[in-house]
Subunit: 227 residues, 2 copies
């Protein structure tokens, strides 16, 4: 319905447990009209940074994300890239990433998101942000965050659409990463009351969405009504 | 030589990979005149706090430390105690400790130290402080640190000796945890140029020991000379 109305559309995800190909397949299976070219995701954004700055990463990421870094030189690493590695967050792997970092004259840590935790069918899980904090503290370094809520991430999605922030609206379930990040970029933002949404989000000390909607369908209703 | 001179002596350790019994056995094997009663360590300090505040811990600690908590009620936990769990720092165990914390109305996290990393024969390892930071971030909570450099830890060692801080001197290899912690308590502190000591410690932005000594033997020489 968004596309049919003539509006430009971009899917911004912090998904780092799968390649964009697999992410898109999953959404297509749910009935979404979506292609890889319409997705803004942290791993490709990180690859752009790695190339620009001639960085060779040591990867601490999910196995299924590794193909996104296929074209990147990973020999003799001079930075660490951390994503939501899930089962790959072992004691041995964390120590290894730490040793690579602490061995650098000026450690460079790139984090694919700064999420605190997320919910899976078998319960809550620590997200990449928690492990990022562990490495930041151990190495006395500040990670460069790629992905929501980084300003640069929203800006690149806007640039890909060729739309200025004041003409764009973000729809998301995450009060900080989706709503807060988009608003700091000059966009408006709707929060859906589904997914990661929690009632206490409505009392968030710093972030207030421009409006709440019941779900994604109502978000589309509201946007099309205001055209 | 310290004991023979009539000075009071106390061993302050952040060791949380073994009970005091095993720690003392190791030092006795190296020829030190030391008994369990002379050791101030984080686990017993944590046990005092747990009892005082009726806290029932979920333990994320090294297997060899568990006996220190033998007398503590651990059913239906209302806090998390984290130590240097080493191989017990698995993805599953970290998620479990996180779920216990995030499930509390007001999460209570007690950390046995805040060390960043340490060296073992097979390389550098992340210390408890890094994992503490991960849980702090995920749960938006501040850990209560037991052990060096916490002021309360040094104060209880002093109380056990019955000595005021201005009449006590700390000997240690760690510029922040030993020297800085003791000085903030009103004690003087010597740094030995062995163990964890690194030359760059001598340019530390905040902490300056009262003197440097070559090793533990020279520390004793210096102290006895000034009696």
């Amino acid at each position: 319905r968004i596309k049919a109305s003539g509006l430009k559309l971009r899917f911004c995800t912090n998904e780092t447990q799968a390649t964009r190909e697999n992410f898109v397949k999953k959404l297509q299976g749910m009935g979404f009209d979506i292609s890889v070219a319409e997705v803004t995701a942290p791993a490709p954004a990180a690859c752009r940074i790695l190339k620009e700055r001639s960085l060779r990463p040591h990867l601490l990421v999910h196995n299924d994300l590794v193909p996104e870094f296929a074209e990147i030189d990973k020999a003799n690493p001079n930075c660490v890239v951390i994503g939501d590695a899930a089962e790959n967050f072992t004691y041995a792997n964390l120590n290894e990433a730490f040793r690579v970092l602490i061995g650098m004259e000026k450690p460079v840590l790139i984090s694919l998101g700064r999420g605190r935790y997320y919910k899976e069918t078998d319960g809550l899980k620590l997200d990449v942000g928690a492990y990022m904090k562990a490495l930041e503290y151990a190495c006395d370094v500040q990670a460069e965050v790629v992905g929501k809520p980084a300003k640069m991430f929203f800006e690149s999605a806007l640039a890909e659409m060729g739309v200025p922030p004041e003409q764009a609206i973000m729809i998301g379930d995450d009060i900080v990463n989706d709503v807060g990040g988009a608003q700091r970029c000059g966009m408006r933002a709707l929060q859906v009351r589904t997914g990661k949404y929690r009632p206490c989000d409505e009392n968030h000390p710093h972030v207030k969405p421009d409006a709440y909607v019941k779900d994604l369908a109502e978000a589309v209703d509201v946007i099309l009504q205001h055209l």
